[in-house]
Symmetry: C2
DNA sequence: TTTACTTATAGTCGAAATGACCATATATTG
DNA sequence: CAATATATGGTCATTTCGACTATAAGTAAA
């Protein structure tokens, strides 16, 4: 980085969040309805302006919380999008974040400049303002890569979950079917899962064991990367 | 993204480039010496301010060219760094890019605000201004992940190269030794390489076949990702 | 003109992993 | 108790892996 020069500023830097939600074997994306401004009434990715004194990560978390009520989730940076005309009235570069969550763990509370917040099926997304549709497309594509090489997606299930739930998550993201038996074998080899002492309840078939993640193994895999070809 | 508000601006958005260079089995990083400004005389990552009318990608390429003379290389976004105090005099968020090149294909021509430009061994990097040392550390770590899952690094060798050269590249990045025979087997399976009609010359031992990349396979692998555990 | 040395290239082999199946267990519902 | 869910574990031929050995082809030194 070199020195400031008078012609160097841009108008603003924003954040946009891609929050992928998982529920009943389906993958959703979280959108908010703009309650004011030039795109009032339209659905868009939750996001907003970065302010002084907060890091980019902090801005992402603050905005997500104030717009949707979702707090304390781990988001990772996806990419910065900076085409000169991506925003209509001025020059705005946006930094996109993404995360995967279990929808059932969060209730949506629209706030700040959002008049509504809702989950949309990943395949039934409305027309979004700016370049949000292409950001979403890019993010979904990256997600497919990530799940194969990082233990991502392991924080979006309930605390305790069945192996089938985990498999359905992978099937939803990768948009493919997987062999149950082979999927289990791969997981076992990774040693990432621990049996809990509980079993599934209130199902009309044999109850499955509930599993949990082994935090220590998780951290190691996060650092070194995994190879989870399916 | 929501609407503009008066307290939303940051001071500036910059670009920093991590250009990894490969030469004779060693991995280097490209640095420039600041010729003016608050860190005059110090070595730093090539970078500068994004201006109106250019995309973020375009800014990265323009800056790299004007500072170091390196033109027309493919850089990818690494990450945005935005701690509030990373820059001393004002609030600056920077977007880091990275690339891998063959040093011998480029001659360094310092220009613009750079008084010098040079390759530094990745393990002998001086103290850099701002958070450049930690950006470099992060980038090097990511690079190790990337080479195992993308056909990255396949554009930083000469047009035609021997299999040993390719292996040495991977060894330099991953900081490990690899088995020659098994490395070849993995490559063969990928079908990414084509034999050229030439052989190595002027070496004091049996000459090796020179190989080239198969462009069509390369594009496919780039899109779908590869699994190149070594 | 041997011989030593260097790198290239191909092959071996037991162990491990993979993918496509099949079998049995355990629960609920009619 | 039969039908039907899902759970869970096993089989097996094929492929891949990792560590290693063997031979080939060239230069340089003796």
């Amino acid at each position: 980085m070199t020195n400031p020069s008078p012609d160097s500023i841009i108008d603003a830097l924003s954040i946009d969040c891609l929050i992928f939600g998982f529920k009943n074997g389906r993958l959703d994306i979280l959108l908010i309805k703009h309650g004011e401004g030039i795109s009032e009434g339209r659905w868009a990715l939750p996001g907003g302006w970065i302010t002084y004194g907060e890091s980019v990560d902090e801005a992402a978390n603050r905005l997500l919380k104030s717009l949707t009520g979702i707090n304390n989730i781990y988001m990772e940076q996806l990419k910065a999008f900076g085409e000169p005309n991506r925003y209509p009235t001025k020059r705005v570069v946006t930094i996109a974040y993404y995360a995967l969550v279990n929808e059932e763990n969060y209730s949506l509370i629209p706030g700040f400049t959002a008049s509504d917040a809702q989950w949309f099926n990943i395949h039934e997304v409305p027309d979004l303002p700016y370049d949000h549709n292409s950001i979403l497309k890019y993010g979904f594509q990256q997600l497919k890569h990530y799940v194969r090489h990082e233990p991502v997606g392991f924080n979006l299930l309930p605390q305790k979950f069945t192996l089938l739930q985990l498999q359905e998550l992978y099937e939803a993201i990768l948009e493919t079917r997987l062999d149950k038996s082979n999927f289990r074998r791969k997981l076992a080899k990774m040693k990432l899962l621990k049996k809990s002492d509980e079993k599934q309840k209130d199902v009309s078939h044999r109850a499955a064991e509930l599993y949990q993640f082994d935090k220590r193994v998780y951290v190691t895999l996060k650092r070194n990367g995994i190879d989870f070809e399916l």
